[in-house]
């Protein structure tokens, strides 16, 4: 079983291949491109997300200042306020410690995106694997996994996260793990349902009749066909993970205080709001909102695009 591309080798197995992956279908890309251009909003969302990811990746090169540099003299400078020389040193102002809000926002993108991405990746991988196993194998495996789903669902997520973090102590790694493990259920349920709907399809039957290995059928044949709804879910999920991180920061169980994240910035701003220092809350709030909004718009569009029934509805 050498590494192969996700394409199902048509000539070798002669399996009838339905619409498989996004990657293998250039026409899908072309249709997607056309659709997104026509829809306008998703393109804006895509641009915003690109900016966020760009700043996350190149943060240290883009940020004008050290995000943790403290400067008592300039604390709580409002945005766009020129200094004595008439220059605007802090375009988005400074926080209560005199740190540059813009630089913190840029560095914050990095951790927030990282936490969001990895948590969703962990949850997605775990959930999808278990979901496909459950849906394809059925029987005892299905029963066991579905009971696991029920158990996980029974925990109010934040409370379980709190308990784990109290036991293990706060920290970025623990946070990513806790948030990730909290998400697997959604993927498992969807993957299971989709796998069941694919299980009896012709191409799966054909693969089975030719003696293809079960693991190979599940992850080479079925997975590409059920990926679309999972990606849609993931796009919504990143958003809720970013929010959960903010809540845990509020409770003092988030990332260490010296690591800037949007959630942390928002949590820190809460004592300053009554003093009228609106910019401390507005910018990280906007960053979270725009990211979540973009992910949602993109997710919505993706769903509409991938789900033929809804497309017909219009």
């Amino acid at each position: 079983m050498a590494e192969q591309s996700l394409e199902i080798p048509g000539a070798g197995t002669a399996a009838p291949v339905p619409v498989t992956t996004l990657q293998t279908q250039p026409s899908v890309w072309r249709r997607a491109g056309g659709s997104i251009l026509r829809a306008r909003w998703p393109i804006l969302a895509l641009i915003i997300l690109s900016i966020v990811i760009f700043t996350a990746v190149f943060g240290p090169n883009v940020a004008p200042k050290d995000p943790n540099r403290v400067n008592p003299i300039v604390r709580l400078t409002p945005p766009m306020e020129p200094d004595r020389n008439g220059e605007i040193e802090y375009p988005l102002g400074t926080d209560g410690l005199g740190r540059d809000v813009l630089s913190r926002l840029i560095y914050g993108a990095r951790v927030s995106v990282l936490v969001g991405f990895f948590a969703v990746a962990i949850g997605g991988l775990l959930g999808t694997t278990l979901g496909i196993l459950s849906g394809y194998l059925g029987g005892t495996a299905d029963d066991v996994i579905m009971r696991l789903v029920d158990i996980q669902l029974a925990f109010p997520f934040i409370l379980l996260a709190i308990m784990v973090l109290v036991v293990l102590g706060p920290g970025v790694l623990n946070l990513v793990l806790v948030l990730g493990i909290g998400q697997w259920v959604t993927y498992a349920r969807i993957a299971r349902a989709e796998t069941i709907s694919q299980r009896e399809k012709e191409y799966v039957e054909a693969a089975r009749s030719m003696g293809m290995h079960t693991a190979r059928i599940m992850f080479r044949s079925i997975l590409p066909n059920i990926l679309a709804p999972l990606i849609v879910i993931a796009s919504f999920n990143v958003a809720s993970v970013i929010l959960a991180e903010a809540s845990l920061s509020f409770l003092g169980l988030g990332v260490p205080p010296t690591v800037p994240t949007w959630g942390q910035m928002l949590a820190e701003s809460r004592d300053q709001l009554i003093g009228g220092n609106w910019w401390l809350a507005i910018y990280p709030g906007m960053a979270i909102m725009l990211t979540v909004l973009s992910l949602n718009i993109l997710g919505d569009w993706l769903r509409d695009f991938l789900d033929p029934r809804l497309r017909g509805a219009n």
Binding site: P72, V166, L253, P257, I274, N277
Partner: protein
């Protein structure tokens, strides 16, 4: 369009239904007979020997009287007792109670009740974990109590101790028959006190209501009939309630919220110079061995040099919003050493001393590395102060890794298990009534507040000498000598005494205390 009509009706109904809610009378606020105080955490127990945290002891101090009290100026004054005699060897304190005292349920309060109060707190069977058995009794060397007369209880301690009477002020008195008949749970929830206010009702995490008790020995007719202690954990919510006029007094108002309070016209900020000593400790234990800076802080010359690196008056002005003088030791004025000059801010001197001690700058300008740890959201603007100090240390070539942690879940566990540091930022409560009360933080190499396990032979042997001297002059001499030791072999990087900011309704005549005790029993309407 099919829903439009239905929808309109629905909206109209909704608005009509909500209207009375919105315009109905405001939630009942403070009135002429009711004072409302908001604290950030709730009481967990109202049984005096179980009480530990400050918000708890604030409430309990209004319900229960004490034998003597410490006034704002630091004088120890009579309260339930009129007089006290100390035996020749300094180990027996015999009080004379006022006549006709009773507890809130009418039970007469006599010497046997006082003795019972002390013995109950010390009872190992009951295993109380509050401040009285945990700190007060161990600090004064409590041995036992006995009845010497109808109104004359005697408290026995193990050795002469000049802070014993001051510590006894913290013991809250109750009546024997009443408390013997109660289970621990009843005692924790339904206290029968002996103080100026009588317990009425406690709704956990919401509020506690008490009303004035007319038979109190030091009854003041002008004070409020009722006090409500509300619990509001979130700082912004507390300030909002104060400005909205629903609360009369709040504590720990952040400097950035002062303008909002002062501009409200309803309340103003009262700044009080507190006794709490804010400092940076050094960790001398093996626990930090191998960490950056652990070896260097062992050297007294380094610890002295670092004192010169930090500009404390600027920190006060820029970070705390007040003017301050740097501490010259671990003791508040007027009991501090009168001749020692607080270390000035002199980075050049700091650098010279470090050069001299054998820590020159390397090619990157770094002398050595250091870790400074601290918790946040516990002391006034702690995070900002810690970060500023790290920068001062960086400036003289001590490359400092500033580790700010969650105070309760990370920092405190590390601190009390001597894992913090090599440098750690922390605060310790103080007072102005006796320097030994403050110096007791370093009463032994393994006493709990000696978080870094500082050891100086001369300092610790001085404690034994103190237990033997009988007159104040001699005692003062030893104290001054100890403060000099502290100054020259500093276990702390000395900073400042923390200011306290209260938000107080303009309708009140009330003064905040410097010892962080929130006593509102003397508050009156302006």
């Amino acid at each position: 369009m099919y829903l439009t009509l239905k929808l309109r009706v629905l909206i109209a109904v909704l608005i009509l239904a909500l209207l009375p809610l919105v315009v109905s009378a405001q939630a009942p606020g403070p009135d002429e007979t009711t004072l409302i105080v908001a604290q950030s955490t709730d009481v967990t127990s109202l049984d005096p020997p179980q009480v530990g945290a400050r918000p708890e002891s604030n409430v309990v101090a209004h319900l229960f009287g004490n034998l003597y009290d410490i006034d704002v100026a630091g004088n120890i004054t009579p309260s339930l007792a009129e007089d006290v005699r100390v035996s020749e060897d300094g180990t027996e304190y015999t009080f004379t109670l006022r006549e006709g005292l009773t507890c809130h349920n009418g039970e007469p309060l006599t010497a046997e009740d006082v003795v019972y109060t002390f013995q109950r707190a010390a009872d190992p069977e009951l295993a109380f974990t509050g401040n009285t058995p945990g700190f007060v009794f161990s600090s004064m060397g409590y041995v036992d109590a006995r009845v010497d007369g109808e109104l004359e209880p005697t408290i026995i301690i193990d050795a002469r101790n000049s802070i014993a009477l001051g510590l006894i002020t913290e013991v809250r008195i109750y009546c024997m028959d009443t408390y013997e008949a109660m289970t621990l749970e009843e005692a924790a929830n339904n206290p029968v006190g002996s103080g100026p206010y009588r317990f009425v009702e406690w709704v956990r995490d919401d509020y506690l209501l008490m009303e004035k008790w007319d038979d109190y020995a030091l009854f003041d007719p002008d004070t409020f009939e009722q006090i409500v202690w509300r619990v509001i954990p979130e700082a912004s919510t507390r300030v909002a309630e104060l400005i909205a006029g629903n609360v009369d007094i709040i504590t720990n108002v952040l400097p950035d919220q002062h303008d909002a309070v002062n501009n409200s016209g309803v309340a103003e900020i009262q700044a009080v110079q507190g006794f709490r000593r804010i400092f940076i400790g050094f960790n001398f234990t093996d626990n930090v061995e191998g960490l950056p800076g652990a070896e260097e802080v062992q050297d007294p010359a380094v610890r002295v040099a670092l004192q010169y690196a930090v500009d404390v008056p600027t920190i006060c002005a820029a970070r705390l919003g007040v003017e301050c003088e740097r501490a010259n030791g671990m003791v508040n004025a007027p009991n501090n050493h009168p001749e020692l000059e607080p270390y000035p801010y002199d980075p050049e001197q700091a650098e010279a001393l470090l050069d001299e001690a054998g820590y020159p700058r390397d090619e990157n300008g770094v002398r050595f590395e250091m870790i400074l740890q601290g918790g946040r959201n516990r002391y006034l603007n702690d995070e900002a102060v810690i970060l500023t100090i790290c920068q001062y240390l960086d400036d003289i070539g001590v490359q400092t890794d500033c580790q700010i942690q969650d105070f309760n879940t990370e920092f405190i566990p590390a601190l009390v298990s001597q894992q913090a540091g090599p440098m750690y930022f922390v605060g310790s409560g103080g007072g102005n009534w006796n320097p030994l009360y403050e110096m007791a933080d370093l009463a032994g190499t393994d006493s709990n507040p000696n978080y870094g396990r500082w050891f100086n032979e001369e300092w610790f042997s001085s404690w034994d000498r103190l237990a033997e001297v009988g007159n104040p002059e001699e005692e003062r001499e030893i104290v001054l000598n100890m403060l000099e030791i502290f100054y020259n072999d500093p276990p702390w990087l000395m900073l400042y005494f923390q200011p306290d900011f209260y938000g107080v309704s303009t309708r009140l005549a009330w003064e905040g205390r410097r010892d962080e005790k929130l006593y509102v029993q003397d508050a009156t309407l302006r």
